[in-house]
């Protein structure tokens, strides 16, 4: 079973995404902040991370950068889910090596389609 890590500080978003991913048959881990996320990435080695950017401790960009700069982790796919909608923010996400940058609010159906595509490739 392919493993997905969901990182967000909003409990309802976390709950929703967890439900959706599980429903599609993935194994899901959740992290409520950046610190937790970094821990889980190393332990669980997920195939994909759904990553919020604005968090109280470590921000999403830093986590993505860490993943892409760590040899062992660099194949993990990163999908940003963020309320930051400026062109420059999005560009920064892709520059850091993200596979996808989706702005909030998003359609869950669309998100699932994209995740499925990424997991298949």
């Amino acid at each position: 079973m392919q493993k997905i890590l969901v990182v967000d500080d909003d409990p309802y978003i976390l709950m929703s995404l967890e439900f959706l991913m599980k429903k599609d048959g993935y194994e899901v881990k959740v992290a409520r902040n950046g610190t937790e996320a970094l821990e889980l990435i190393n332990i669980e080695m997920p195939s994909l991370v759904l990553l919020d950017i604005m968090m109280p401790d470590v921000d999403g960009y830093a986590i993505c950068k860490y993943i892409k700069e760590t040899k062992r982790l660099k194949d993990i796919k990163v999908v940003f889910l963020s309320a930051k909608s400026k062109e420059s923010d999005i560009q920064k996400g892709y520059d850091l090596g993200a596979s996808l940058y989706i702005t909030k609010p998003f359609s869950t159906r669309e998100l699932m389609k994209q995740v499925k595509g990424l997991m298949a490739s």
Binding site: I13, S16, L20, D59, Y61
Partner: protein, 898 residues
């Protein structure tokens, strides 16, 4: 001591002086002025201290005690008036190219030829005794040093004074008459004078130190020994031998002399380079006077204690070291005295020579029919006239020294000169402050002043010299008892100087005033009066405003200037002027402004009266009528006002532009802030929207999920919708407070009750998390003027934040009320995880997110704290947080008491 040794020393000293002057001129040509600084200026002012100071003060102190100081108090007081008076004179002289006192007075009263002559003659007559005094001092000190007999009985070829005089004549001719243009600065000369001021100061101090500490045992010793002698003891008291009336008159005399002595006028006005130098000289010059007077009394008492009556007190400073076999020291002191005397002679003679040649000789020469102004000869003529004047002046001084001066002390000769130059005060000071003064008034005042001066002060000295019968002193002029030189109109009881000074200045002022008031003024006079009195208004634009009518041939004018200034300089000067004011150059008909300018430039060379004569010789001038002058003046007045108006307008415009720029800047800032705020708000809205949408879609797409789970999603949707609407309310509130639309609805509120209400409303929420809220309120009730619902909002916000951030079960929240001088403080404390220092201010900022692009504000606070801050500020209070990480937080806000 050997005659020749002394003479050679004096020669060497003069050689050094030459060297200093040459060096200064050399440096000046290289582009670096040695004297363009306030220190050199102040030192050159110290030419005031002559042999009189150097030798005479001591003599005076042996008979009159501390009253010699009055001659230095006067200048010190005058220094306070330097800025308003002297600066004005300097400005006038610079813009009008005036280079002597005579030229100043004649220019002021319509460039009047007669007036210039009167002033020049009076100046020479008044000051020659003073120059003679210096010569006398040199020869006396020379005799003392060489222990030779006084020189009055020997022929002039055996007389050392004669040779000293010749030496000085050579020096002055070499350095004072190098350029035709008298308005040019004498760079080398001023440097030499400043140098001499240093030499005489050092020499006198060295003498003083030697006498005080080497012959005696310090100040204490001299004074305690002098105290034992009754003749000296009475000198300890000021005013012992001097009455108040003579103190006053001597004070006024010395005040006036420091401006009107020709040499002081020369160094302080003509040689002044920058007006700003006056500012510093105002205290440097009095400081110099103070220092040079420190040892006068010790030397005077020392001399009295050592010599008794045998030695002339004027020579104590030299005689004392010699008495103790200190010949080298004596030689040095002689050189100091020589420098004091020579610097005075040099500057005084140059000033007088400029006056004699420019105001007396040249006008007479130029207006004589036979004179033709041809190129080379004319400049040579001017220089020769000036050189002859120098020789004449020093010859007269020498003569005076030989015939009259031997009978008087240094000080009394000097005072006669002081009283002479004081006669210029009414015409000069009146001339720069009173537009109503007229030429006739000035002539009348000066003439009557000088006649009185001559009669009351000079005639008695001629009696002493045996030139006039003694009869006049006792019986009065022509036997009329009212006309006794020492008791004019029966006024006796004053000393002769005060008496003469009083009457001469009294008649002078009266004549000046009344004749001015009752005389008709000419056009030129009115115009000059306007320029002199309002110089600070006119100095910029008056060049461009000529009072002259007639026709002039430009080429004739040009060749006239060439004759006096040289071809190159003349051509440049006129052309520059024409370009500066955009005046068309027409060879046949010169613009009046050019004619006026040419006259002024020429005035700098040969004096204004001569320049007048020369210019009218090449132009056809028409007499100006009074109403034409008034018209010109009015025009220039209007132009000045127009200028002022323009300046004011442009300043206003500038202000408006500045304001616009700053408003624009503010608007731009506000725009950026608005953008940021909007971004923050939409960002805040996106998060709940995301969860609502996600949860709604889940419930919609998955009809088969268990009821329990479905319930969870649905209640989540409701919670997030609440959060959304709360956020929107907050945004609207904040916007309302910031725009100022929300008015405070203040009333007297019981704070205790307000707090009770808040705690009560949140008790349930706290209970859920099992958190305690502790109230710590004083027993007495506190009433504050505030808007109750708004303050309630702040309290609720802080409390609910605290509830959110403390750990369930362990959390304790404390709310307390404190009173201090400024008003009330409300504290909300919790034992949560605290807030790091760098966030202390940011959490109250509504743009928190925008500025910290990726770090999130501690969750849940939203815009709440920003709103709290706004509300508290609206009440005139402050809100802040004190907190450390892991140590809990304390939010404090203040409400001022009325």
């Amino acid at each position: 001591m050997n005659n020749w040794l002394v003479i050679i020393s004096a020669l060497v000293y003069l050689g050094i002086l030459f060297g200093v002057a040459y060096f200064a001129e050399y440096k000046y040509k290289k582009g670096k002025s040695l004297i363009n600084n306030p220190y050199a200026y102040a030192l050159s002012l110290a030419v005031y201290c002559t042999a009189w100071t150097y030798y005479g003060s001591v003599g005076r102190a042996t008979t009159n005690g501390a009253d010699f100081l009055v001659y230095y108090l006067g200048p010190t007081i005058m220094c306070a008036l330097y800025w308003p008076v002297l600066r004005k004179i300097i400005r006038i002289c610079k813009t009008q190219r005036i280079n002597s006192l005579a030229d100043f007075i004649s220019t002021r009263y319509g460039k009047n030829f007669t007036l210039g002559i009167i002033v020049a003659v009076f100046c020479v007559a008044g000051v020659i005794p003073y120059i003679a005094l210096q010569l006398k001092a040199i020869s006396t000190s020379f005799s003392i040093l060489t222990s030779s007999v006084s020189s009055s009985e020997v022929g002039f070829w055996q007389d050392n004074t004669f040779y000293f005089t010749i030496l000085i004549v050579v020096f002055i001719i070499l350095f004072g008459t190098r350029s035709v243009d008298a308005s040019e600065k004498h760079e080398g000369l001023v440097a030499a004078i400043a140098f001499e001021s240093i030499v005489k100061l050092i020499a006198f101090i060295v003498a003083g130190v030697f006498i005080t500490w080497f012959i005696f045992d310090g100040f204490g010793d001299i004074f305690s020994r002098a105290e034992k002698i009754s003749e000296l003891k009475k000198l300890f008291v000021i005013g012992g031998n001097t009455s108040y009336s003579s103190w006053t008159s001597l004070l006024v005399l010395s005040m006036l002399s420091v401006i009107f002595l020709p040499r002081q006028f020369q160094v302080s006005v003509v040689e002044n380079i920058q007006e700003a130098h006056v500012k510093k000289a105002v205290w440097l010059f009095p400081l110099y006077l103070f220092i040079i007077n420190i040892f006068v009394l010790p030397v005077a008492f020392g001399g009295k204690l050592s010599f008794g009556a045998g030695v002339d007190p004027d020579t104590y400073v030299l005689a004392l070291p010699l008495h103790h076999q200190q010949y080298l020291l004596g030689l040095f002191i002689f050189i100091g005295g020589f420098s004091a005397a020579s610097s005075m002679i040099i500057v005084e003679t140059i000033a007088l020579a400029t006056m004699l040649s420019n105001s007396l000789a040249l006008p007479v020469l130029f207006s004589s029919t036979g004179f033709k102004a041809s190129a080379k000869s004319v400049r040579q003529t001017i220089l020769n006239t000036r050189r002859l004047s120098i020789i004449l002046i020093l010859f007269l001084a020498y003569l005076y020294d030989k015939t009259v001066a031997q009978h008087f002390t240094l000080v009394s000769i000097g005072l006669i000169s002081f009283a002479a130059v004081a006669q210029f005060a009414p015409s000069v000071i009146g001339g720069i402050f009173w537009k109503g003064a007229s030429k006739n008034g000035a002539v009348a005042g000066l003439v009557i002043g000088f006649v009185t001066w001559f009669f009351t002060l000079v005639v008695p000295s001629m009696v002493s010299a045996g030139l006039v019968s003694e009869n006049i002193l006792h019986n009065g002029l022509f036997g009329i008892t009212w006309l006794k030189p020492f008791a004019l109109f029966g006024l006796d009881g004053l000393d002769s100087i005060s008496h003469g000074f009083f009457w001469s200045l009294f008649f002078n002022c009266c004549a000046y005033f009344f004749v001015s008031v009752y005389s008709v003024k000419k056009a030129q006079e009115i115009y000059q009066a306007e320029i002199f009195v309002d110089i600070f208004k006119h100095s910029s634009i008056q060049e461009n405003n000529a009072i002259w009518k007639g026709t002039a041939d430009l080429s004739a004018l040009n060749s006239l200037l060439e004759n006096f200034m040289g071809k190159e300089k003349a051509g440049k000067v006129l052309l520059n002027f024409a370009t500066r004011y955009k005046i068309p150059v027409d060879a046949k008909r010169a613009d009046p402004r050019i004619v006026a300018f040419a006259e002024k430039v020429l005035g700098g060379v040969i004096g204004s009266a001569s320049a007048r004569i020369m210019v009218s010789s090449v132009t056809k001038e028409e007499e100006l009528k009074i109403d034409e002058v008034i018209h010109i003046l009015r025009e220039s007045q209007q132009m000045m006002e127009l200028n002022k108006e323009l300046r004011r307008k442009s300043a206003e415009l500038q202000r408006a532009t500045d304001q616009l720029t700053s408003v624009n800047e503010q608007l731009k800032n506000m725009d950026v802030m608005k953008d940021e705020f909007l971004y923050t708000v939409t960002h805040e809205l996106r998060t709940p929207l995301t969860s609502i949408r996600a949860m709604a879609e889940i419930v919609h797409d998955n009809p088969d999920i268990p009821d329990e789970q479905k319930q969870k999603f649905l209640s989540g949707i409701i919670k997030e919708t609440e959060r959304l609407s709360h956020l929107i309310t907050q945004v609207l509130n904040l916007e309302r407070y910031e725009s100022g639309r929300q008015k405070l609805n203040a009333s007297s509120v019981l704070l205790n009750v307000l707090i009770d209400d808040s705690v009560e409303s949140l008790e349930a929420l706290a209970h859920e998390k099992n958190i305690r809220i502790v109230k710590q309120l004083p027993d007495s009730m506190f009433i504050v003027q505030c808007d109750a619902p708004l303050i309630q909002q702040v309290l609720n916000n802080l409390l609910s934040n605290a509830i959110k951030f403390v750990e369930p079960e362990k959390g304790v929240i404390k709310i307390s009320l404190h009173q201090n001088a400024d008003g009330m403080q409300i504290w909300v404390e919790d034992n949560g995880k605290g807030i790091s220092k760098e966030l202390h201010e940011l959490i109250f900022d509504k743009f928190f997110q925008a500025k910290n692009q990726t770090l999130k504000k501690p969750q849940g606070s939203g815009l709440g704290l920003a709103i709290c801050k706004k509300i508290i500020e609206m009440h005139g209070g402050k809100i802040w947080v004190e907190s450390e990480e892991d140590k809990g937080s304390r939010f404090i806000f203040t409400l001022p008491s009325d």
